[in-house]
Symmetry: C2
Subunit: 354 residues, 2 copies
């Protein structure tokens, strides 16, 4: 299957995705019969394109080079002008827009409009960008459904931790009654350092920055907003919650004290920033807050930059998954996974064994 890819965003994740595509090309061909080619890479002020696909050596050079706009072949243009950047319709091609940009969490823009527009043009979507899903999950899902395209976003909520796949496939047929998870690495690192090494909040935050863990905007992490976005996406996708960010009750970790941690330690508990969505009689309630978790609980064991999530279901009981070490590699691998599963879905996978 020929896959024509339009890649939006060329930061660490976009670059890693291109490297991965290149490195896995023989495997994708032999194992999955897939021949992806990157037709365009688009950043804020324009991009690089080649209808027959940007040559592999060129792609890898681009991934390892500086700012895209300084590279040979870059042409200026409005990234929202899809006529300019989307792969043209071609017999036998499956067209996919991969979004590795950042957008505003309140509006989802500029990605939201662009993704919907691409879907209406019959282009499948893989988004690593959580903002459009946070801002308008139902709208995105509806446009994708009406347009008959796939919308894949396993890298948008706790990249690398296969939370969405698990619900859709592994728990197919079950009703998800609750989801709770440790979904943000920075806050988990800080709480662990406060607990294990006796650091104050400020010291632990400083250390997480020194280690390059805290993102450029650590406020999103420590305020609990990042966790809120992730549990919101999971609840909307897996529990049909139809909630918005404003519906999530959010308490971050900025007020957590060493004394509080010591208090819980005596009770055999450790403090974790937990995002939790629970089905009630006729609704779903979503909350993020520092929560004392018994040491023996799996979520207490989630350390380093791993993440963990536990589902409670009607027919499968509890299922816990832990993994998804963060970083650009996990996110890029999630996008590749989405591409493979999307191709299977589009191709109407016959004779498959699993």
């Amino acid at each position: 299957m020929q896959i024509a890819i339009c890649l939006y965003g060329f930061g660490n994740v976009g670059r890693e995705f291109v490297r991965l595509l290149n490195r896995k090309a023989p495997y994708l061909k032999s194992r999955h019969g897939l021949e992806p080619r990157v037709v365009s890479i688009v950043t804020r002020k324009g991009g690089i394109r080649a209808e027959s696909g940007i040559d592999c050596p060129v792609l890898v050079n681009l991934a390892n080079a500086g700012t895209l706009s300084d590279q040979e072949g870059f042409v200026g243009g409005d990234p929202s002008d899809l006529d300019a950047w989307l792969p043209p319709m071609r017999e036998g091609d499956v067209r996919v827009l991969v979004d590795a940009t950042w957008s505003d969490l309140d509006t989802g823009e500029p990605a939201l409009s662009r993704l919907k527009d691409a879907a209406r043009r019959g282009c499948h979507l893989v988004t690593l960008n959580k903002a459009p899903l946070v801002a308008d999950f139902d709208g995105m899902a509806q446009v994708a459904r009406e347009s008959g395209v796939c919308l894949k976003f396993s890298g948008a909520a706790a990249a690398g931790l296969p939370a969405i796949d698990t619900v859709r496939v592994s728990l197919a047929g079950a009703q998800v009654d609750s989801i709770e998870g440790v979904l943000n690495s920075t806050t988990n690192y800080i709480l662990t350092a406060m607990s294990d090494d006796g650091l104050s909040y400020e010291e632990a935050l400083r250390r997480s920055r020194a280690m390059g863990l805290a993102e450029t905007q650590p406020e999103r992490d420590v305020s609990g907003i990042d966790t809120a976005c992730k549990i919101l996406i999971l609840a909307n996708a897996a529990m049909g919650a139809r909630k918005r960010l404003g519906d999530v009750k959010v308490t971050g970790i900025t007020e957590v004290t060493s004394r509080e941690i010591a208090y819980w330690a005596v009770q055999g508990r450790t403090l974790r920033l937990i995002g939790r969505a629970v089905r009630t009689a006729d609704d779903v309630s979503i909350e993020v807050k520092p929560t004392p978790v018994p040491y023996k609980d799996f979520l207490a064991q989630v350390t380093g930059d791993s993440k963990g999530v536990r589902f409670t279901t009607d027919v499968f009981g509890e299922l816990t998954i832990v993994g998804g070490s963060g970083g650009p590699s996990a996110a890029a691998s999630s996008a590749l996974k989405d591409l493979i599963n999307l191709a299977k879905a589009v191709g109407g996978e016959q004779g498959h064994i699993s």
Copy 2:
């Protein structure tokens, strides 16, 4: 989508599957657009059939009644005579054979020949029976592939724990370098009771029997053979291992002593019966043996009738899943899940959101 089901085996799992189908019917229709009907139920000496589907109330009555052959409508016949039992080809029907029988682990028979035969007739396969997969995984996969039918078996290796789904979907694009897991409830219960309650092996085995945990043939559990079957299926399916049961080095728990457990406890470790498959330079080695696991390891935390498995991969790092409380309900739910995912694959799911 109309799904015509031929169910082989009507023990606890088969009965639970029928109940579940009935209970989930409205959900299957509204959420997945699926209308499954059970066309035949086959046991050792014959079965019950109705081309238009056995009526729901009748089905539920059968599930709650005694031996099938004593029920109204039972007709004698050879279960291997597929002409008699498979749903007839009908425009728009997807035909599925669900196997909930037991077979011989060495030969896979009588299920193996029957399943292959059904595949060649264009019937999709869902097997909860691990024997045909243990005896001839490659043969089963090849026949399914050549016949263009799906072969689903998520309930055949650690039912309820979505190990196979995880590899196929959540880890798509990744190379699995190792799989290690706690895959058998009985042995895990015995080792936990020896460790936590200071019981001897014999006392712990007796207690597991009293609790109804140990199966009718506890030898398969305590000898490690059940774990060997499961890790073998996982290694063949997820790592392309192409191994047979004889290739698995198996040590059970019958020789484990209280003294050994106490020795490891002092070292901060607990004994678990671990099935492990590891990719080597040009092969995969598979082993089952009691293994001291650090208390902080996720696999040490797998208790009760849960199971746990950890995958190590090239691009996603480690991923651990814990869950899948055993019993007929988990196995039946796995078969239902397979049915849903099979229908999606056959239908060429378009416009799907995940």
